[in-house]
Symmetry: C2
Subunit: 142 residues, 2 copies
DNA sequence: ATATTAAAGACTTATATTATCTGTAATTGA
DNA sequence: TCAATTACAGATAATATAAGTCTTTAATAT
């Protein structure tokens, strides 16, 4: 059981987007280049984040992506939920779920993780980025 | 990201083994039948649990499996760790991990889940099984 | 108009999970 | 000793999911 690479890419991308000056956008090409991955693949992930309401996009010349919420309000959980989906880590395929105690235990444990992830904000990561990286990103903004 | 079916099978199997009278063993055939799955596949999972020290096996006629620790000491985490392995949910493939703050956040969140799973014991599930199920298992002991 | 950008869908490839098949070794009991 | 029973190991196959590519379309600014 592992988080997908897509989650990794999404988290890093969000950190970059948060580092952008307010209102600026950056294209998927630059974002992919910084993470050394294919733009088309990252594009899918960005579309997911956009549909999830975390970022917004503008097509066309000088278009790109920017965050669509207050930068200090975006939690790790927000990103992970959007990319990985909402379903539970443990899901039994049987159909007599009512009152299942095994599921209850698993769901409760998972909730502890989620609570923690909901209280951790990406801006904390961005705030600790070094000056050079920040300037690098700003330089790539549209 | 999901827990594997193997984890589900392992948890149920452990509940059954804990329900057995102390010292009794039960074969993989019966355990698989109760969960409606292939004995050979379950066998692999049981071997893993045995190597992990949670259960012990005796081959040969009237052999089978039994728990190898105090029944009230076996936690959900014990089982999950044995089946799913020890690696972290989030693992970045880059090689500059030192002091990575993203990883720190993820690992800490995961630890909250693990702490909870380590405090939940399978015997609680067994204790709440109905009489009929318990007797069914006892009847299949060797 | 044209260049640039995101979005969408079909498709392929890679990887992990799930499952089966076959054979071997250990143990019991007749 | 012999036969039945059981766990164990390894190869293989089947399936599901994730990861990544390719191509086309649509929107936008200059
Ligand atoms: S008891 Fe719960 S986990 Fe077990 S088979 Fe039923 S629903 Fe699934
Ligand atoms: S900062 Fe952390 S998560 Fe990001 S690439 Fe480096 S090691 Fe991986």
């Amino acid at each position: 059981m592992k988080y997908s690479k897509a989650t990794n890419y999404a988290l890093h991308t969000m950190v970059y987007l948060i580092a952008l000056p307010k209102g600026n956008t950056i294209g998927v090409h630059s974002l992919a280049e910084m993470q050394d991955l294919s733009p088309t693949y990252l594009s899918k992930i960005l579309t997911k984040l956009a549909k999830g309401g975390l970022i917004e996009s503008t097509p066309g010349v000088r278009g790109g992506y920017k965050v669509s919420k207050a930068k200090d309000s975006i939690s790790f959980l927000d990103v992970i939920k959007t990319v990985e989906g909402e379903s539970n880590l443990f899901n039994c395929s049987m159909d007599h779920h009512e009152g299942c105690m095994i599921e209850n235990v698993m769901i409760e444990a998972e909730q502890n993780m989620k609570d923690d992830l909901a209280a951790k904000f990406l801006i904390e990561i961005t705030n600790k980025m070094d000056e050079q990286s920040i300037n690098n990103i700003k330089g790539k903004a549209n």
